[in-house]
Amino acid sequence: MPDGFAAEVYAHRADLLRIAWLQLRDEHLAEDVVQETFLAALKSGQSFAGRSKLKTWLIGILKFKIVDALRSRARDPIAISHMEKEVDVQDMDALFDEQGLWRSRPRGWDDPAFIAGQQDFLRIMDLCLEKLPPDTARVFILRELFEMESEEICGIASISPNHLGVLLYRARMSLRRCVEINWLSAMS
């Protein structure tokens, strides 16, 4: 194993911890799954050419640790009643008028500026993910970062495909708006 491997792995600690916390909403549990991820990674001693490949691999391990933690918690009835509240989309309907037209129109986002500002984008996304209701953020990350199929997410979260669709819709609509507001203020 190269000497620097542990250091390379630990360089991703903050990002992994952040995702684990957004999933589990418990600092100790988040620390535990990240620690387990690092132990598994160091034990395998694989080497990676690029940093993003290493991070992708680490996120893959973290995903399994998180899914295990979520599964063991799925029997908690509080978690489910909590999620029912988030499935209500009335606040999303308020974004449209009686004819179903946008009240506040989505603006065009400037691609080149967007690419130039990846670091800003990551910072804004982090901020906006934290503002989402917990289960809404959770399913968004399961779907978009871990690329899990809807069926699998429904199984873990004990929700119907319809509820999942509503949660993901809420996540995207809220994030879209939040990114737009923060992005525009960051550029000015």
Partner: protein, 66 residues
């Protein structure tokens, strides 16, 4: 004829499941005429690009590679 609220739901659904042929054609028709929903679609796709940006980036931890 879809309104924007309905179109926005389909734009999100399309990222998670295959739309039915009728949904697909209705959405396509709507997008032809609606720049707002086109922007919305672009925003949803930008949100999807978060994964790539996240995996390529390091935030809090300093980069120690030379």
């Amino acid at each position: 004829m879809l309104n924007c609220r309905e179109a926005s739901h389909l734009l999100s659904d399309a990222l998670d499941r295959a739309l039915r042929p009728q949904e697909h054609s209705q959405l396509k028709e709507h997008l032809k005429k609606c720049p707002n929903c086109k922007n919305c679609r672009h925003h949803f796709l930008t949100l999807r690009s978060w994964k790539t940006a996240f995996l390529a980036g390091v935030n809090a931890a300093p980069d120690t590679t030379p």
